[in-house]
Symmetry: D2
Subunit: 470 residues, 4 copies
């Protein structure tokens, strides 16, 4: 998908009094860096306090050994952020610390992936209660309401109460001085996995974070489930009678290929999507070339199924990261040039099947097609391992507005013309679903078909909120 | 090759009064980041001065927009360093600025990839002349002698004189207030490419740096050639009747696959090495898996030739970089775990052909084999697209000592046992050479066969120098 | 005056091709640190370019040896900022670089101390011309107009033209690739001194900056004068028939005691103010105590004239600087406590004459009086070496609004009660003027008597502008 | 004394579960900044852990709000360092954390002002026990022995044991998870004060640190006393039958004038030294001028006693701090020029009595005398409020070696000639002692008369150690 779409966030949590919990969180956030590069933070619980450190930047830039050594405790949560709502400042970084009732040992920290759809409602409640938000995020609203609620009732009770009022797609980790809570929204739209290692438990947006610390994948946190991990072990509570509505984007794009979703490695599903794509849209060509890194598994699957040789003919600079250096003026397409360089000898004179997982705005895709042509490609056949994205997402993924979504405004033929490719095919929704091995009704497919899993009254609020955001 | 071997440095130069030379250098150094991650620096020439900025860290960490905007001029050189001699401090970072005769407009800056083999001799000369080195590098010695020499004779003449006395494998860029010089050693052991774009010339360790700024590859700087680029264009001078003795390591490991060596893309040569490997050492197996990223092209070639399906079953964290965080204690193999994660579903129960470009010390390779076994691999057949490295390199690549080189001490069978793989095969020297399409005598193959391209008397000095270094 | 009032900015310029101009600027800005601690910057001219570096923070925090070494050229300007208009961000830091016509060698940088009073008019002109300001400062408006003007006429001519339109109290330094310009407003409200050393010229807000680099004070830049310093030496031009209207605040508070104003050291004038204060308001007491550091000279003068022993009984922490650490909650008066500590043995049981140069808002003064009482002072007689400040300043000093000025709202007796002192006396305007040795009509005394040196029509604009600023 | 002598360190400790202990420590270290500017650190105790943060630089540079907020706990210690032994690196910064038996809740941190004189002996013991020092400081040796000792016996017992073996001049603060210990050496050479505020206790090198946080000075920690502060309050233990041998340097130079030593404010003692100096060495002159800041109180005392007018005619830059910028080449005396600027009008034609507290190497003093002459002083009479320093100190103050001490090698007349002054007088030892109001035998005066309070056998070891250090 190149750099067109903005990714969601990563959340992580660990409860393991015998282990160095901040170091475990550090390495796990590093493994989940792909889900957010704007800011990173870790909060740690001691017997009486929660301490927290967060900064703008990549995990490796934010933390150093001195900082990690200060983060001592028996449990921790962590977060990598890519802003979907609120502006890009440290004030919006997570985890967020709430100390209002610190004297009672009720300080807590909270980190969050996804989007509340009734933020305006929550903000109104916050305002009604006379609470003072320090930032404009969902996280701040939920935290303030929780801070207020837990003054009068047990923490877990206050948490359930606010969850019953919050509506949206989210995965939440909450750290108190005595427990770690992991919460998944009633439709399980955003991912959240539970793992274990000899001395404790871990939760993470993706199971790939477990391997780096020697943990083992147990299961997904279920729709509408609160998992609480404390000194007395793990307990589970359902605050809603949920059902599975997983975001399909995680399956074909967001998640690392080595993460497990609903019991199956994502890589294998993507290989299968590539195979299906070869069957659905075969083409007489010389080489199959992935758009790195996201198109790789589908391209391998396509090549395998079609028998056309696979070549990584777009070389990616290994050292990626956020840069704040202005581009060279003369290089319109430098954004892509900085990341990718075509192999002329491999491409020149060839009929190329270019494989990617999706197209959002299409600008990067167009530059890549142009790059292939300049390198001498005789034909460029573009194959996408997902259906056209026609509708914005209000559940945590920032595609932008209708205007920006190329498939919201153009037919497949028009898109092909716009991108400058000889042919273009999107994998059918049926085949994408089939590749996952799960029933169609267990997915949120709203960005493809506008069938929203969250009911209408809420939807209107969403739209309003999003429009205000623009 | 994983992380076993230490890479050489990158040099870059640009002469283009109409362009933003420091920005061009920045993006080029970014493209050459793989050749050195310890420090980075840029020097720029104005009419009267050379100004220079360098710091420890990656290109993206060292420079910011404020710094780049201060680096204004008509020509620039840049450098990424991985120390091969001298310790890892800012004092040893490059380019090095020499201002001794700044009043005469003879300030210059110098950057260098490779190793002088007669450093002791040069240091003796420096000491005899009463000059005061600020650091222990070759670069400092050459610079001091040049600074001294150019007081009495024209700069180019002084440069030739010192080059005639310096012995070793090096690529050198020198920046004066009026010209950019690019120098390649008489055996062209280290790489150096020349490129052009509408408004000027560029030189770089690798041609892959040209694409990022819209430049075009012209040719290699030739053995014993000095290229001078000034306001009056490009001129060339031979200070030695050189011959080609290219370092083979650049062909199968160091260079980016999209760089051109002797007129041919490196990727294609590596695909051919993989194919040759499949012919030389076929094995009945289920999947071909590369060690990312270095083993990728050979693995694709192997898969293509053998018909065994290709799978990128070791997932690499996209966000690599130098970390100074201590590892988790319980994870002995974390160094590898932090970078790679195996796909269990793909590997479990399979007979795996694991392909890498080379083995140096073998510790990373052993961890990878173990990782595959833990993921359920039934068999692991290791295939290496180069011959065993049996001898240290004294020409700019830090393999370490004999003791550290696994193939200097063990037979192939012993290595296989040590690594824990079911079979192991190194590609024959003949086939590696054949894959490049160049004659065998145009390579330095000393690390494989101890045939040193630099004569004996010098060799002894080298050995002595290296022993002192340990 | 303690920390009640906000200081103006410092400007500096040097033209000295044989010297290290950025280092000279660095040390001079360091000597002028008291005039602004928010940001610091240096711009340097080479034959073709102006390069500039600026950051938030103190001079010693902003620059390091690496940065200074990049700032090579034949002339430089520098600036320390304390914002009087515009918000406190890097975007508002100075010098400001204008490169619009860089190709013609007409890049320039500009730094500024003071306030334009017709900013709205200038902004309207900027808008009319379709220019795009990057910041909200006067400096940006003047620079944009100058950048626009010098496209069609010689630089000096364009400069004069804009100066004829700009109205206000300012000292301006402008750096082009071939000259340094120093400009003083037609009423010479803000200070600007000219100095010389063997190899070149220097200009600075205060002459105390010259000593640190071995320069010699020549004279003041005169009202409405443009001094131009280039390779051909110094030339002078009058763009307005100015008259002296020096800000009296510089005489009794802002300037370093070792600076020279109108040919006389400031320290001596302040000693004389203290003596006059002792004559005007004698009191039977045991010790004279200055509010450090600003009240020191007047207190010495008071003690000398009165014969009452002088004691520095309020100890100041030597290590001052901007802190971003939140205060201890329980310490309401910590702002003062962090800076001053009373000597109990010296103060206990004594009748104290406390001397300061001025009172602005009065909050710090009140804390100091309270501190003396807590330390056991039997009586506290407050003596101020300037008259009550009753009116806001629109010429570069940020007293805030009428509401904040204690003397705008209370009588001297009421102020004494508010501060909690046994007696309070402000030195009469006549005596302050007399201590300077200059005629009363050569000062701007608007903050004492509302007699504004800039005519009425403009004043209204000023008021409007200021009100908008609140 | 100008910048000739190197200062000792500052230690601080607080036990106050109800207060923000890290913020209290921050402000206190800020008040003690004059005792060490090389590095700063704070360690905080939670129920189970000690966490510590330290960096090179001033207190205000080392800490920011994010760091302080991580340092939560019920007790804290802090340290500012100026290295007297060991090199200037972060590895030698304090507090030092020891976590060897962290599992048992026996982690502790340690900070230290002074010098162990039997470091070699301690190091031998460390080596004999097979312990691995991470640094070369006394603190590390004591900490390692304590860490080893407390495995087998109660912490306080282990502490006493190691104190009985350590010999030297030191003030020590030790933080465990349940207590704060403050220890003073058996001769009380280095200072250590005990204070109290409503919610807890504080200890500090100087009582001036108490005021900043609203604390009250209680008493000195006594010779050979261990004070323990825990949840159950304060208890005291004597590990040695000590006697007072206070370092006289603290009285006339090191301590802030607002600190209390043995019940009396230091300022008053220094005023008295100045008065005695006026009586002992009167001179017919026009003004008394202090060397700021250290000579100020004695100069005020001298002026008061002699009736000669006092003037602060050497203006000091308020913004001091460590700079790493190279000086301007042409300014040999820039070190002094950067800090001081003479008032020409005040000095010209005058006979000046220059007052300072001490002379160590004399280089700064010479520059100041020269500066006064250049400013037109007719005569310069130098008066020093302490006797000549003839012998190195082995108890925590770094005067350097015999060779560097001007009075170790020259007579007073020779020193006067070397400094270029018209007359020079050092206050007699009798008068210095008299000004303190304490008996002579309660001081360590070794630097004046070589009478060492620690017996001979140890002295030899000291000498040996120090010689090795050079």
């Amino acid at each position: 998908m190149g750099s067109d779409a903005r990714e969601a966030c990563a959340v992580f949590g660990v409860f393991a009094p015998e282990r160095d919990v901040s170091r475990i969180t550090y390495y796990s956030l590093f493994a989940l860096q792909h889900r957010g590069q704007e800011s990173s933070g870790i909060a740690v619980a001691t017997d009486k306090h929660i301490i927290c450190y967060k900064e703008m930047g990549l995990v490796q830039q934010v933390f150093n050994e001195s900082i990690l050594r200060m983060l001592k405790g028996h449990a921790a949560i962590g977060h990598n952020r890519y802003s979907t709502t609120g502006s890009s400042t440290l004030a919006n970084a997570q985890p967020v610390l709430f100390e209002g009732c610190a004297g009672d040992g009720r300080a807590f920290a909270l980190a969050h992936n996804g989007n509340m759809v009734n933020t305006a409602e929550l903000a109104a409640e916050v305002s009604r209660l006379g609470l003072s938000p320090r930032a404009s995020t969902d996280t701040e609203m939920i935290g303030l309401l929780l801070e207020h609620g837990c003054r009068e009732k047990p923490f877990a009770e206050a948490l359930v109460e606010i969850l019953e009022r919050a509506s949206g797609a989210y995965s939440l980790v909450v750290l108190t001085t005595d427990a770690l809570y992991a919460v998944r929204d009633p439709l399980a739209i955003r991912p959240l996995a539970l793992g274990r290692f000899p001395e404790g438990y871990v939760v993470a947006s993706e199971s790939a974070a477990f391997a780096i610390v020697g943990g083992e994948h147990l299961r997904e946190v279920e729709p509408g489930e609160i998992v609480r991990i404390g000194a007395d072990g793990l307990s589970s509570h359902r605050f809603a009678t949920g059902q599975w509505r997983n975001c399909m984007f995680e399956y074909f794009y967001f998640c690392r290929p080595d993460s497990i979703l609903r019991g199956k490695e994502v890589y294998s599903m993507r290989i299968e999507m590539g195979r299906a794509l070869a069957r659905e849209a075969p083409v007489d060509a010389d080489i199959v070339v992935p758009v790195p890194d996201s198109g790789m598994p589908a391209a391998i699957g396509y090549a395998e199924e079609s028998g056309v040789p696979y070549h990584e003919a777009l070389i990616k600079n290994r050292y990626v990261g956020r840069t704040f250096i202005e581009p060279l003026q003369a290089q319109r397409e430098l954004g892509v040039r900085m990341k990718l360089n075509p192999l002329r000898e491999v491409i020149a004179g060839k009929r190329v099947i270019l494989v990617d997982d999706s197209i959002v705005r299409g600008s990067t895709s167009r530059e890549i097609v142009r790059m292939l042509r300049q390198a001498g490609a005789r034909e460029v056949h573009f194959r996408i391992s997902s259906p056209p994205i026609r509708y914005p997402c209000y559940y945590g993924i920032d595609f932008g507005t209708y205007e920006e979504l190329i498939a919201a405004n153009l037919s497949v033929e028009e898109i092909a013309r716009r991108l400058g490719c000889d042919s273009l095919h999107y994998l059918s929704l049926e085949q994408v679903v089939a590749a996952t091995g799960l029933p169609r009704e267990e997915f949120c497919l709203a960005c493809f078909n506008d069938e929203r899993p969250i009911p209408l009254r809420e939807q209107m609020k969403i739209s309003k909120f999003v429009l205000e955001k623009q």
